[in-house]
Every structure is written in structure tokens, then in C-alpha cells.
Symmetry: C2
Subunit: 138 residues, 2 copies
DNA sequence: TTATTTTTCGCAACCTTGTTGCAAATTATT
DNA sequence: AATAATTTGCAACAAGGTTGCGAAAAATAA
């Protein structure tokens, strides 16, 4: 397990440091989305606040994580699937936010139906955020 | 025109003040979404920053405006259509963000297709944010 | 392995964004 | 016009996020 974390970092041209390993591990263990606050709570005792910000930014730039738009505009990040990395995020997946436990989940298998826009509009990306009750809380 | 602004405020049980009139007017003139920053830039010389916040909050509570989730998590507000007001926003419309001019538009006429969630998930709200190029910029 | 270069970290300081309490001013009500 | 109820602006604060820079840690070269 240790090795695979290092590999992910190297594959994305990120130098391997203890803070990056730790934060990446948090994403792998917690298989939902994390807010900056979540990460700070779980790892901030070990790292500076600024380091967490910079690490997330580096992960974003390299396509390791992506951010999720939420109705309350709190920023959340989630791991990208493998095909995310090469510059162009495929990003066309559904995000689900549970109103009860407020966990955020990427539903990669849910297909987004095509949306018919009015004349003159061109779409390059579609973000769908569904809120409701997740299967753990039902 | 002046009269109609007053009417909208009264209809929504908001006392008519100069700041509310001015901010509501901004939304009416600018028929897209506005961020708090936009409003501050356009009206802050006249009003205190806090007043803008409280006005937007009041508008939100009364259902005059609603907020829009964006990919970069900047908060944007847009006027609600008439059927928004009664507590339950209908909210099921598509928001479009132009990558070029970065204006945000409510596409009220675009129908959101129903999305099939995995077993165990219940949906109460679906937000769709499409980004691309708007008809002005194409 | 050691030396050198490059990158990252942590600290402090700062900026932006948003909130709260309270007295003064403005609206609504009578 | 007088009173009651809201709203405003100020100041002060809190949270969230950024920047510069020397110290520390990684990566690279020798």
C-alpha cells in the first residue's frame, strides 16, 4: 500500500513528501470527497495550514483530484479516476451530496443524459450535483 | 419601472429601502447572475459591505433570488421566477456559465432529464451547471 | 555516499470574505 | 405626527485563503 501511494505521486510528477503522502492517503481511505476543513482536521496537527492548501493546489493542477461544485459553495475535492490525468478531465460524472451525513460521493457509473441547450449555446462540460439521502442513511 | 421595483419588494414582505431598491434593480438590469463581488463593485460606494450581505440574505430568505453552484465555488445569485417564492424553490433549471465572458445565465426552459441513481439513493434536488460558450460569445 | 541543485515546508504577515453586536437612522404603523 | 419595528453603518472579529522568504527536505549529479 505504501508503495502505491508513492507511485501515484511519481506518476503525476509530484515529488514524494510526507505531507503529500498523508493527504493522498486520506483521499484513498475516505472514498468520498473531502473539504479543506476535513483534511485540516484529520491531518493539520501534523502539517501547516498552508501546506495543506498548497498540496491540494498541486494535486488539482496535476489532475490527481478535482473539485466539486456544491449548493452551499463549500469547496470539496475528490480523487480523479485514471483517465482524468491527461490534461482534459472527463469530469462528466454525477456528484451526490447526502443531506443527512453530508458526505459527497462521485457516482462514476451514472450516465448523464444529454441536455438540449437553446440555439447558440455550446457545451463543453456538464456538472450534475444531486442531493438527497445516500444508501447509508436511508 | 420604479414602481415595479417597490412592488416586488412589498410583495415579498420586504420593507422598501434605498439599498434594497438599488440591489434589486441591479438584478433586473443585469439579466444574468451576480456574485457578491459584482454587486459590491457596482453599488458598494453607496452602501456598506455589510448591507449588501444582509440584503442578499434577505432576498434569499424571501425567495427573490437563489444561489447557483459553480465549479470554482464563487457564489452567484440570480433572480427567481415567480413560482420560486412560496418556500419551495422549483430550482430544477439548468445554469449556464460562459467560459468566455463568464456570465451566468438561468436556462429556465431547458428540461433536466431524470437521472437514474444507484440502489439506495434518494434524490431531492438536482443541480445542473453547464459550462461552454454562450450565444453572445460564439 | 556525498555534494549540489531544486523543490517543498513552515512561519509570519497579510488580504479577502463573511459574521455579529449595538447605537443611530430609516421605514412602517397608529 | 408620534411611536414601534426594521434596517443601516460602524467597528470589531472570525474564517478562509494567499504571499514572501529562509530553513529543511527531496531529487539530481558527481
Amino acid at each position: 500500500m505504501e508503495a502505491s501511494i508513492d507511485d501515484i505521486l511519481k506518476k503525476n510528477q509530484l515529488s514524494v513528501t510526507s505531507s503529500r503522502k498523508k493527504i493522498l492517503e486520506l483521499f484513498l481511505v475516505n472514498n468520498g470527497a473531502l473539504s479543506h476543513g476535513d483534511i485540516e482536521k484529520k491531518a493539520a496537527s501534523k502539517f501547516d495550514r498552508v501546506t495543506v492548501y498548497r498540496t491540494l493546489q498541486a494535486f488539482l493542477e496535476k489532475g490527481v483530484i478535482h473539485n466539486i461544485p456544491t449548493a452551499d459553495n463549500s469547496i470539496r475535492y475528490a480523487l480523479c479516476k485514471d483517465d482524468c490525468s491527461e490534461g482534459h478531465h472527463h469530469d462528466n460524472h454525477v456528484h451526490f451530496i447526502c443531506n443527512n451525513c453530508s458526505s459527497t460521493i462521485c457516482l462514476d457509473n451514472v450516465i448523464i443524459p444529454s441536455i438540449k441547450l437553446p440555439k447558440g449555446y455550446t457545451s463543453t462540460q456538464v456538472e450534475v450535483v444531486v442531493s438527497g439521502v445516500c444508501k447509508e442513511c436511508k
